[in-house]
Every structure is written in C-alpha cells, then in structure tokens.
C-alpha cells in the first residue's frame, strides 16, 4: 500500500500506539532544505491509505512522536527549532501547543514510554531537552556539544535518556544522578571504538574505525540494555550498555550509503529495520536469537548478524521506518524523499525460512 506526500519529501513515519490503522508522517518541501513542512495523519483501510488530517508548518519538519497518553496528539520537531503539538480533536489546523527553545533544527523527538508524561528532543544546536507537554518551558537541558541527530528515552526506565551525535558518540544520561557538572551523563561511548591501550594485552585486539557522524539509534524493546546505532559509516552496531567498554556486540554491514533510521522490531527481540541513503530499507537479525546459527567466538562483532531481506521500492533516500505494533508481526511503514509512504510486510522480501519466524 502506498500514499503520496505530493510535493513533500518524507522525513519520518510513526505508527499510532493506539490504532493499527493510523500513521503519522512528517515531510518537507524541497527535500527539507528550504520551505514549508507538512504533517500527515493517515488512515489505513481496505481501500488503501487516505489522509485524515494535514497540517502545514512554516518551516521543514523532521521528526514526530505520538503522545503516549493521548491518542489524538502528535509532537513534531522542525527546522526553525520549534516543537509543535497537534491534536486531531482541534477543529482548526494550528498546533495546540508550541515550544521554542532550540536554536537550530530539531531532528528528533521521543516520548517517555514508562511514565508517559514527558518527551525528549534533540537538535543541531548541541542539546537534548526534556519536556512536560503541560508546561511552557523545558524541564532540563542536557548538553552534547555536538549536532545531535537522535535521542530517546529507554523503553523500560523513566529516567534514562540516550543520544547519538555527529561526534560519533553514544551518550547515556541518567536523570536519577545528582545534578553536577556531568549533567547526568553516565556513559560516553565512542561508537567507532575506543582507542587501543598501548601495551594492554587484555582481550583480543579490536578493530578500530574512523569516527563518523551517527544519525540514528534505537533501544531494543526486549533486552533493555541493548542499543543499536547507525550513521554515515554505513554500519549498524549494537551495544550492551552493561559493558560499554567492550565495544560493539554486533556489526551489521551491508548498506551502501549512510543509514538514516533504525527501528527494533516490537515483536522479535533480534530483528531490526533500517532505512538508508542507498534507497533501500533492510531487515536484519543481530544474531542474538537462540535459533541463529552458532558462530565462532573469535571472529569478532562482524561475524554476528545477517541481513534477512531488503526492500527496493523507494527511488530516493529512505528516511523514516517504523513497525506496526499490532496484528501480523511483519508490517512496517517507510517513507522516503521520493514523496511516498509505503506500508508493506517484511515477509514479502524474505526467504520462507526467515519469514516463518514472523507470526
């Protein structure tokens, strides 16, 4: 199934956490470089996909999050540094709430899944901000000092926030720590790898990579210490934050250009979906499920993980990917700069053995 965001190039897509037939998409004119943005609330039915609501914004929009407490509200981050709250119950097409604190493009917004009363945003201005939708100002600002493309609340903890930035680092903040000069930062993980320790004979020699901008990350929905990251160096890595110094657990190699968006499956703990500038969306296993073929321990993180399938329908950069939380386990939505939103079943791009794992 397909929907055209005519004149607007897609940036993000999210399934509603309440209804299996509702999607929200943000798209921007002129590839998000200059011009307006548009927010689409889409409905799915037997006849296909239709727009239920369309909101225009004066500047580009880059990411959205459904409010976890109110099925009619979405939060949108935009190019002018603003965050807007739209409510489909509102009769007009204006945001019901707007926050303007970020100084540069807001590239990600993410809702707290546990308390459901706050959300987090990240911006090119080098900050992550925590918000309560009923308050006019942010609750907290966490500096990253680097253009931050993606931030998220941990899915099982109300007080842990992660962020990835153009400085090639994954940051973990824990709001339970006392206020101090560390600004709640508890882990600063170099995604490209720790520098080798001269003279250290502990453990096998690690392969090191050049630092590169990290564009996206996501928390695993079942293993609450596992995070996947990906970005300009085309590699998807998984980290276990219980042992950040160990480096990546798995490295998934395959995309031919930068990876723009990642999403772990809400159904299978080892499966994730990625969208890339190489115009494909790919489904991966990180090799952690019990049925995966056993692998020699000495081969390092690159030996783990497999590409399960790839979707080649998009004709421009794939920028948004998301899994449907309900019904059959293989349904996903993707959006791209080709002005299309595609809803498809990952089983359709897999061999039968892999497809049979999805109910």
């Amino acid at each position: 199934m397909e929907f055209r965001t005519a004149g607007y190039n897609g940036y993000a897509v999210k399934y509603s956490p309440y209804f299996d037939s509702r999607l929200a998409v943000v798209a921007s004119a002129n590839f998000g470089l200059v011009g307006n943005g548009r927010v689409y609330i889409l409905g799915l039915d037997a006849n296909g996909i239709h727009a239920e609501r369309v909101y225009d914004t004066p500047d580009s929009v880059y990411d959205l999050a459904w409010a976890e407490r109110n099925e009619t509200q979405v939060i949108v981050g935009g190019g002018d540094g603003s965050i807007k709250l739209f409510d489909t119950k509102s009769p007009d097409n204006f945001p019901v709430q707007e926050w303007k604190e970020h100084n540069r493009e807001v590239y990600s917004v993410n809702y707290n899944l546990v308390t459901k009363d706050s959300f987090v945003s990240s911006s090119w201005d080098g900050t992550v901000k925590v918000w309560d939708p009923v308050r006019p100002n942010s609750l907290l600002t966490l500096p990253t000092h680097s253009c931050t493309y993606s931030t998220a609340f941990a899915p099982r903890s109300p007080s842990i926030i992660s962020a990835v930035s153009s400085d090639s680092h994954l940051r973990i903040f824990d709001l339970r720590t006392n206020p101090s000069s560390a600004n709640h930062l508890v882990h600063l993980i170099p995604i490209h790898g720790y520098p080798p320790m001269p003279g250290s004979t502990y453990g096998p020699p690690r392969q090191t990579y050049a630092p590169s901008e990290c564009l996206t990350h996501d928390w695993n929905k079942y293993r609450d210490t596992v995070i996947a990251t990906a970005g300009v160096d085309q590699l998807i890595r998984t980290f276990d934050i219980r042992n950040p110094k160990a480096g990546p657990v798995a490295i998934l190699r395959g995309h031919d250009y930068a990876v723009r968006k990642l999403s772990w499956s809400p159904h299978l703990s080892d499966v994730l979906l990625s969208g890339s500038y190489d115009m494909t969306a790919r489904v991966w296993s990180d090799g952690s499920n019990a049925n995966a073929p056993s692998r020699p321990a000495n081969l390092g993180p690159e030996a783990w993980g497999d590409e399960l399938g790839r979707m080649n329908v998009h004709t421009e950069f794939v920028t948004g990917v998301d899994w449907c939380l309900f019904g059959a386990e293989g349904w996903v939505a993707t959006t791209a700069w080709d002005e299309r939103v595609c809803v498809w079943d990952v089983r359709s791009v897999m061999n039968p053995a892999n497809a049979s794992r999805f109910n």
Binding site: F31, G32, L33, V34, S60, G79, E105, W124, C147, A210, S212, E213, L215, G231, V232, D233, Q234, Y257, A258, R260, Y277
Partner: protein, 419 residues
C-alpha cells in the same frame, strides 16, 4: 552560510561517507600547524666544497639570519629554536649561542634534537608538538651538519652488556655494513642499486639545469681557505656541488665496492649518500597565528611518526614508517604526490620503493642524498624544503618524507603544500 546551505552541506556530508583521508587532510583549520618559511643552504662536499671551512655555528648563524630577514617575522615572536644535529660537540651551547648571534632576542630559547638522520624532521616535530600543546606559539626548526669540521666517529665504546647482547650489539655495525645486510637479506642486485643511484644523479642534474632547485636554496656568504695558497677569501655559495653530470648506471657499475669485507659488497661510493655540509630551516606556527600576523603560508605539517626495527637492517626503516604515518593520517599510497626517501644507500632505496609499491616517478623527483649529499642532521629538514618546492612546481599537494635512522629506526612525516 544560509540555513538552506547548512542543511545541504549536512546532507552532503552524510553522502560522502568515504570522504577520503586526502580531502580531510587538505581542509584548512585554524589550529593547523603551518609552515610560513622553508629554505636551505646549498649542500657541498665535506672537506672539498664551499662550506668546508664553515664551522657548524657559523653555518647556523648564517641561515638563522636569513630566516630572520626573509621571513618578515618580528624576531621577538620566536619563542624556541630546535636544532637537529648529530655530530657537533657541545651542541646545546652552540645552538643557543648561535640563535643569539643571529640577531634573535634573549627571549628566543634553543634546544637540540638528535636522532641521527631523522634529527631535522624530529626538530620540526618537536616545535610542532610544542605549538600543538600550547607551550609556544612560534618556533623555528633547523637541521644542520658540518661533516667537514665534525667527523663521524661511529659508535663509541659501549658496555659489555651491549656488546654481548644479540640484538643490541648490532648497533656497533657501521652503516655501510647495514647497507650490505639489506642487499644480502633481500636480494637487491648491484644493477638495481646502480640504476637507482644513476636516476638520482640524472634527476638532480635536470633539477639544476632547469633551475628547479634554486627555489629551495638561499645563497650564503662564507669564508673559504684556498687549499694550495692558504689565502682566506669571502665567497657566496649558491649551488649544490655533488651532482656529477652525465652519470649513468653503466658508469656507476665500474666503481669498486666500498666494503669488500662485508658480503655481498655491492655498496660503492657511487650508490651511497655523499658526506656533505649543509643546513635547512622551517618556520612553524598555527594557521590562526599566521593569518593574524599576515605570514604567507607555504605548507602544513600533518604529523610524523617513528618506528624501530632490527639495527642490522636499519635501512628499511621507511618501509615501516611510511605505512604507519599513512594509517595515522588516513592516507593511501595513491594519495601521495611526492615521496622523499633519504637515499642513505641505494640498497635501502630500492627495497623501500619495491616493498611499498611506490611509483618511482614520485620518489625523490629532484634526486637525493646519493646525488647531492646527506648532511646527517640537516637531511630531515632539507627533505621538507625539497618536497614543498617540488609540490609547488608540479602544482600538487601531499608529500611524505621519510628516512632510515642508524641504530634501527625509521621516521616519516606528512606535509601539505599550500602554494
């Protein structure tokens, strides 16, 4: 930049994931360590050439004076001068005293760097590291050697713990012996060595005839004593005197082995570096400082590194040092436009070119130490002057400079021309 421009460049940076080390290296940042002046004296034959009666301190004073006058830099801003030198006795006295005698204020400090043939490059690295660390803002690296007045006596008497040590005792081997070891261990033929040496002479000859080398050299005024009459006169020395025109591999093939006592005895006076006097100077500061002072930026120091290896085959040091610095700077062999490898001996030169798969056209395009000499402490700095000048001439950008180091080491550095 406009918002749209910034967003576009952000997307473009995502799309150039494999933006090469080359493009990264060529970026200009305010904290780059840049070279705003680089020059050398002529190199002349020890005991015979124009610098034969010029002691090391006079050589230093002459070149430092030229740097002071030609760089258009206020000498009060020079905080440290590092001298790369191997043989001079009382180096530390001589370095500091020469700086002051050359017209720098008492606030200009001096130090000495000595790691044999890499001393000139080590001096550049020392000054650059001080600037990077914020210890100083402006410094001069100078490599100088007077082999006429300071003889190379070889290794001193060393402890029995060294002479009885299987590896450390190799440090007693004269350099000529290590050249024969390289030729023998790696099967480098006499013919290849003579071809390599002849190419060095031919390139240096062309460089002199076309006037390319004039861009490197600053003439210096020296006192010279006529060996027959004993009359001392003042002369301007302005050219390298070691280059024998018309040299061919055949003519070099007739020269007798220099070291019949060590097999395979392929090293000769014609395919080994000459014993020579000379000096070279490099003026370094941050790009931000150079722009603030209106200094002309001629090049950029991008890093240097050192490796160790078995002393008995010290000549092949560059075959380890060059890959190491390439890895550190994110470059590949193909990114290099000019490769300066010190021609201590043709045996190690042939080995390094073959081992690394270097394009012979890019290696020492103006000839090297076999043709115009190897003043030990000078060479590391001299090669930078030569490389930057050759990059300017060819309108190219990136050079690596490397040398083998006695006692078993190799050093390499990467420089960018900003002509």
């Amino acid at each position: 930049m406009t918002t749209a421009g910034q967003r576009l460049s952000s997307v473009l940076s995502h799309l150039n994931p494999l933006s090469t080390g080359r493009s990264r290296l060529l970026q200009k940042n305010p904290d780059d360590i840049v070279i705003t002046y680089a020059a050398r004296t002529p190199l002349t034959k020890a005991k015979k050439g124009g610098l034969k009666d010029t002691p090391i301190d006079d050589l230093l004073i002459a070149l430092l004076t030229i740097v002071r006058e030609q760089s258009k830099l206020d000498p009060n801003l020079v905080e440290d001068v590092c001298l790369g030198n191997v043989l001079a006795p009382g180096q530390a006295y001589m370095a500091r005293a020469s700086v002051l005698a050359a017209g720098y204020p008492v606030t200009a400090a001096a130090s000495v760097a000595n790691r044999f043939c890499s001393s000139g490059l080590l001096a550049v690295q020392q000054i650059a590291n001080q600037i990077i660390a914020g210890s100083i803002e402006i410094g001069i690296a100078i490599g100088a050697e007077s082999m006429s007045t300071n003889a190379d006596g070889g290794a001193p008497t060393l402890s029995e713990k060294i002479t009885n040590h299987p590896i450390s005792s190799q440090n007693l081997q004269p350099m000529g012996q290590t050249s024969e070891n390289v030729a023998g261990d790696f099967g480098i033929s006499r013919e290849k060595m003579d071809e390599f040496a002849a190419r060095s002479f031919q390139r240096a000859e062309r460089s002199q005839k076309e006037g390319w080398v004039k861009d490197e050299i600053v003439p210096i005024e020296v006192q010279i004593k006529d060996p027959k009459t004993g009359v001392v006169e003042t002369k301007i020395i302005d050219r390298d005197d070691g280059v024998r025109y018309g040299t061919t591999a055949e003519s070099l093939g007739k020269i007798r082995a220099a070291f019949p006592q060590w097999k395979p005895s392929q090293t000769t006076g014609g395919n080994a570096s000459q014993i020579t006097d000379g000096a070279a100077a490099i003026l370094l500061m941050k790009r931000s400082k150079a722009e603030e002072l209106g200094q002309t930026i001629v090049g950029k120091f991008c890093g240097a590194t050192i490796v160790g290896l078995a002393p008995r085959i010290m000549g092949i040091g560059p075959s380890y040092a060059i890959p190491k610095i390439l890895e550190k700077t994110g470059l590949t062999i193909a990114d290099l436009d000019v490769i300066e490898i010190n021609e201590a001996f043709a045996s190690m030169g042939v080995y390094c070119v073959e081992k690394l798969g270097l394009d012979p056209e890019k290696v020492n395009p103006r000839g090297g130490a076999i043709a115009f000499g190897h003043p030990l402490g000078c060479t590391g700095a001299r090669q930078i002057v030569t490389a930057l000048s050759e990059l300017r001439r060819q309108d190219k950008r990136i050079a690596v400079t490397s040398m083998c180091v006695g006692t078993g080491m190799g050093m390499a550095g990467v420089f960018v021309s900003e002509h």
